[in-house]
Symmetry: C2
Subunit: 335 residues, 2 copies
């Protein structure tokens, strides 16, 4: 396995491979060997397997993989590593970028062309080019999994595919961004001003220094594209989504909603068209989750409305999705 | 296929077989043929398949299957029908009974011994004898499915098995009875007295004339046994569950909880031991669902707490679970 991207998710995954290794071998016959790790400064490669604890230590203490000695290749890029490393699976977890989806998009494409199965936790390539990537995976007979892009460790994509068979999923709607939901929840419960809550969220690490991606609705839109394409069979890309973030939601708006027994939430919705916008929902609705929770509701026939709620982000949580994807790939191999 | 029990769930299932028939054939190669239907007064049997619309009409107009003419066998019992009918699958949906689990338990046992796959929506046999029935199914090499016993059309059992692989499920807790939840929700939102809400629920058809099974906590306990055995691998039966219903929950208790930002819910919980009792949970907790919704939370490692919310009952919803079980059996055949 080759890890391209060694940020929070990449490191959490590496930690899980160490801490859960015995269990994975015992329960699933899975013995993941990491033969390469790439970060923004270089790579570490070893056909016999990287010493994961050493890699984590090096990253922690020096911010790079330089302490891996002979295995370290300063300046080596993800693309180089994908082309030069012999492995079965490439895990792409570089940061999401939404103008061209790079470098993730090239990583995914190249890995598939090299015949590698791909697990992607980076939303950029999928938000911009999901139909083409699905096709490319099919053409190259590789498995392409991306459970970690939506819902963190909450198995949103798998749930709809594996558990709702035989039911028509007619539409879906969800709270897919923890940062926006944290801010709106605080505005509703404490009457706080958006700027104040945002500053607080940034301090707690729930919001980025540049919060546009989250509170502008783009993260929600990316996830909506992925969920809708995967579950409803649409062929959307980010440009097809009508996006409105929460920046214009006022305390007055929130209070008025409250007086009606409602609450304002940033909802990604796919019915006739794909939209992201602040909506009023009844406080008794299952989508009304607070804090950094994510939730997604499937309008199914004949089983009714079914909602899945869980932590939508977090390194360890998202890494657990990568593990599940790996189990699925292993199972596909075994057939 | 033989339907034993032709109440709300059995009839809804028969309706679904008609209305979704084309889709099931096209998408899953499934062409369910109902060769027998049994109710409390007799049976209708025909190796070429029962006319389902006629059976539904007969049941509706006369309360029995007598209008099926030559196919009708007045007085024929479920046991007789199971022994005399040549079929692949028996669907058991007679009413839940908790002292001896009959007649469901004998139906399930006999069907398995006859080499039939069994789909059971009746909680009695499972609450009382689930480990033995799992063993019997295994021994007779038949598939035993019971998705409809928990969560109605919400795929609670499948979710944990199919979507949480590779995650440890350390404990679970849930709101598993819609009637109790409806009553407690009304008490909290409107300050109404339990007796008043119960009478209202009975009028709306949400509660039975004898509400003991629901508000006494026994329905929740049955579902907890099934969920815990299936998902956590325990070998519980109903007698192992410590059960306390909602009959002693006062408006004072509800109001006090509210003042603390909490709400009182009837929770079935499996941690170190299996319990059913009214508990206070924060109003912001994902389990805080209102009305007749059901919800179940899985405490997983490392993916965190994951909650599934949906309608917990309803004929059509539960029948959709039977369809899913049938698809699963069909898939097992196909392998």
């Amino acid at each position: 396995m080759l890890l391209v991207g060694f940020g929070v998710v990449g490191q959490s995954f590496a930690e899980l491979v160490v801490s859960e290794g015995a269990k994975l071998g015992r329960d699933f016959g899975l013995r993941p060997k990491i033969v390469g790790i790439v970060d923004s400064k270089g790579a570490a490669c070893s056909p016999d397997g990287i010493d994961i604890s050493k890699a984590l230590d090096s990253k922690m203490s020096s911010g790079s993989l330089e302490k891996l000695g002979a295995a370290y290749r300063p300046g080596m890029t993800g693309l180089d590593a994908i082309q030069e490393t012999d492995c079965e699976v490439v895990v792409e977890s570089t940061p999401t970028e939404l103008s061209k989806g790079e470098p993730g998009l090239s990583h995914v494409r190249t890995a598939m062309k090299e015949g590698r199965h791909v697990i992607c936790t980076n939303k950029g390539p999928l938000a911009l080019a999901m139909p083409a990537l699905m096709e490319l995976a099919h053409h190259n007979k590789v498995v392409f999994k991306f459970s970690g892009t939506v819902g963190g460790g909450t198995p949103v994509l798998d749930f709809a595919k594996k558990c709702l068979e035989g039911s028509d999923i007619r539409s879906l709607s969800g709270i897919l961004n923890g940062t926006s939901n944290y801010i709106l929840s605080k505005m509703a419960s404490e009457g706080s001003n958006m700027k104040v809550v945002l500053a607080e969220a940034q301090k707690l690490g729930y919001a980025e220094a540049d919060p546009t991606y989250d509170i502008g609705g783009f993260d929600t839109a990316c996830k909506l594209v992925i969920v809708s394409n995967y579950i409803l069979g649409t062929s959307l890309s980010l440009k097809d989504v009508q996006v409105k973030g929460i920046t214009e939601v006022s305390n007055e708006h929130v209070d008025k909603a409250k007086a009606k027994g409602n609450t304002v939430k940033l909802i990604g919705r796919m019915e006739k068209k794909a939209t992201v916008s602040p909506e009023e929902i009844p406080i008794t609705h299952p989508l009304n989750v607070s804090g950094t929770f994510n939730a997604i509701s499937f309008n199914t026939h004949p089983a009714g409305e079914i909602t899945l709620v869980g932590k939508g982000a977090g390194g360890k949580e998202t890494a657990s999705s990568v593990i599940r994807d790996l189990i699925e790939i292993r199972r596909t191999f075994a057939r």
